[in-house]
């Protein structure tokens, strides 16, 4: 998609692809034929810059045809670089500015907790996104209202827009969430078996949970893996051909 559209945000999508694959094929209670069925889990991509991975997951899961992915970030296309709710089934929210998803998830969770206690709200955020104050307003609210149907997933790739997350803020995310009363899980964000196990465990928790998934930005393209550049990388012809042949 990056290659066709000649656009970036590549690394940020690659690092969440395994998480989305596990969610959409193993965890989420969803029905692509009834995308608006009230009785469904909600998945909110709060880190909207990973949108291409979301579109790919939705297409692979059958919400729309894979062909539509060619309409990503092209003139007259369907998909923006950040999700727009109304453009295709399965996209729960429009996002793109960071720090919005967890609050929206809290609102959804308030309703679902009373009406459909088994249904969960999954909110995927970036580690850099947790710089936003609104994330902590929501974290506090969710804990205070005992919304154990919220499962936040942190894509902990160690990078944000202009540097390493550890260079921008030194505070450990797990310590912070724990201080807010959340249950913490750590997982390898590229290990589908572990991801499935931990996400299923989080679903049974009596407290709101955060799953901190250690990921590699630019995963699967060796020359950009674990670099700041991965976010800004546009897939070239050679890389596209190599991956296509695999």
């Amino acid at each position: 998609m990056s290659y066709w559209s000649k656009t970036a945000e590549t690394g940020s999508a690659l690092c969440i692809s395994d998480i989305l694959a596990v969610l959409y094929f193993k965890i989420l209670h969803i029905n692509p034929k009834k995308p608006d069925d009230f009785d469904r889990d909600r998945f909110l991509l709060s880190k909207g810059h990973g949108a291409s991975a979301l579109y790919a997951a939705l297409a692979e899961r059958g919400f729309f045809s894979v062909d539509k992915l060619k309409k990503y970030r092209v003139n007259g296309g369907i998909f923006h670089g950040h999700p727009s709710k109304e453009v295709a089934p399965g996209i729960e929210i429009s996002s793109g500015s960071l720090g919005h998803g967890l609050s929206i998830g809290a609102g959804m969770a308030l309703v679902l907790k009373k009406s459909l206690p088994k249904r969960k709200v999954f909110v995927l955020m970036g580690d850099g996104e947790c710089n936003e104050g609104s994330v902590w307003e929501a974290t506090m609210f969710i804990a205070s209202h005992k919304l154990n149907n919220v499962i936040a997933i942190i894509d902990d790739n160690g990078f944000q827009g202009f540097g390493k997350t550890s260079d921008v803020h030194t505070m450990d995310l797990a310590t912070k969430f724990k201080a807010f009363g959340w249950q913490i899980f750590h997982v390898d964000g590229h290990n589908p078996v572990q991801l499935e196990k931990i996400l299923n465990k989080a679903k049974t928790s009596s407290r709101p949970c955060v799953v901190i998934a250690k990921t590699i930005t630019g995963k699967s393209i060796p020359n950009i893996e674990n670099t700041l550049h991965a976010h800004y990388y546009i897939v070239d012809e050679k890389t596209h051909k190599n991956h296509h042949e695999k």
């Binding site: 929210i93 429009s94 609050s103 929206i104 609102g107 308030l110 309703v111 506090m140 609210f141």
Partner: protein, 300 residues
């Protein structure tokens, strides 16, 4: 609001930790649907969006300056972009929180709400308008900003008034000058009309515009055709409010060019300490000053 919440079990009321000595009965009546979100406006708007995306009709309440400016991006992206059934009720528009100071003066809210696609903007004046605006807002499914302030003591209601979002109301008939007013400053508008009549004999039509967006363009254009001057009055910045909207409407219309006087707050922070009337006077919005400007413009 009590009645609306009794009639519709899907209404959820969120407050940003405000409403002391006012909202307690609502809280007691609907403990499951009244949530004090805390002093966290961005989170409150996001929660409202989540509730609305899950089938609820949501009211969010706080002081107008905090409610419109702190979470502005959430209002834009989460509420307006999704076109959600969320009602943003801000109290204390204009100088209503007079001596509280600049942080509480809300003089930019109409402009920043006006500019958002999908948003309706309502600035009722007196009790009938406030009640009817609230009822109409609750019937509507669109994002709406309701700007509340201190009601003038006068009741301007006439038996033929039927409230509708997007409609203006002729409070006083007059053939020479048109004054369009939005919000609680309507009483000042009536005083202006009286001063002008006494000093010049000219009759001023005063129209209340509780709905700034959508605007009653038809009424404005029809009335403008008949007068020598059009004026606007609002307790809000000169930029982006009723005056700006009317100026744009008239400039794009086929009407001959008319003298136009927009009376609003100047593009400065009014740092003086004092009551609402004191601050309005400092800002040049006393009835005498506005009347004088209009008379001068007419060459009288």
């Amino acid at each position: 609001m009590q009645i609306e919440m009794e009639n519709n079990k899907d209404i959820v009321f969120l407050t940003g930790d405000l409403g002391f000595n006012a909202l307690e009965p609502l809280h007691q009546s609907f403990p499951d649907r009244f949530i004090n979100v805390g002093i966290a406006e961005a989170n409150m708007i996001g929660i409202a969006a989540g509730l609305a995306l899950t089938g609820k009709k949501v009211i969010v309440y706080s002081i107008a300056s905090f409610l419109t400016m702190r979470p502005y991006e959430q209002i834009r992206n989460d509420i307006c972009y999704h076109n959600l059934d969320v009602k943003i009720v801000g109290t204390g528009g204009g100088f209503n929180y007079s001596t509280h100071g600049i942080t509480h003066h809300t003089i930019e809210d109409v402009a920043i709400m006006n500019v958002l696609p999908n948003m309706q903007v309502l600035c009722p004046t007196y009790s009938w308008e406030a009640r009817e605006a609230t009822k109409s807002m609750m019937k509507s499914k669109k994002p709406t900003y309701l700007r509340l302030g201190k009601s003038p003591k006068t009741n301007f209601f006439k038996p033929d008034f039927k409230f509708k979002i997007g409609r203006g109301f002729v409070i006083r008939e007059g053939k020479d000058i048109l004054l369009l007013v939005t919000g609680n400053i309507l009483d000042c508008g009536m005083e202006i009309a009286e001063i002008i009549k006494n000093k010049t004999g000219l009759e001023m039509s005063v129209i209340s515009m509780p709905s700034v967006k959508p605007l009653d363009k038809k009424l404005i254009l029809e009335t403008s055709k008949k007068v020598k001057l059009v004026a606007t009055l609002e307790e809000h910045s000169l930029h982006g409010g009723l005056g700006s909207e009317v100026a744009m409407l008239l400039s794009q219309s086929h009407l001959p060019k008319l003298p136009f006087i927009p009376s609003a707050l100047p593009d400065v922070f009014i740092k003086d300490v004092g009551s609402r009337d004191f601050l309005l006077n400092k800002a040049g919005l006393s009835p005498k000053k506005v009347a004088k400007n209009i008379i001068k413009k007419l060459g009288r």
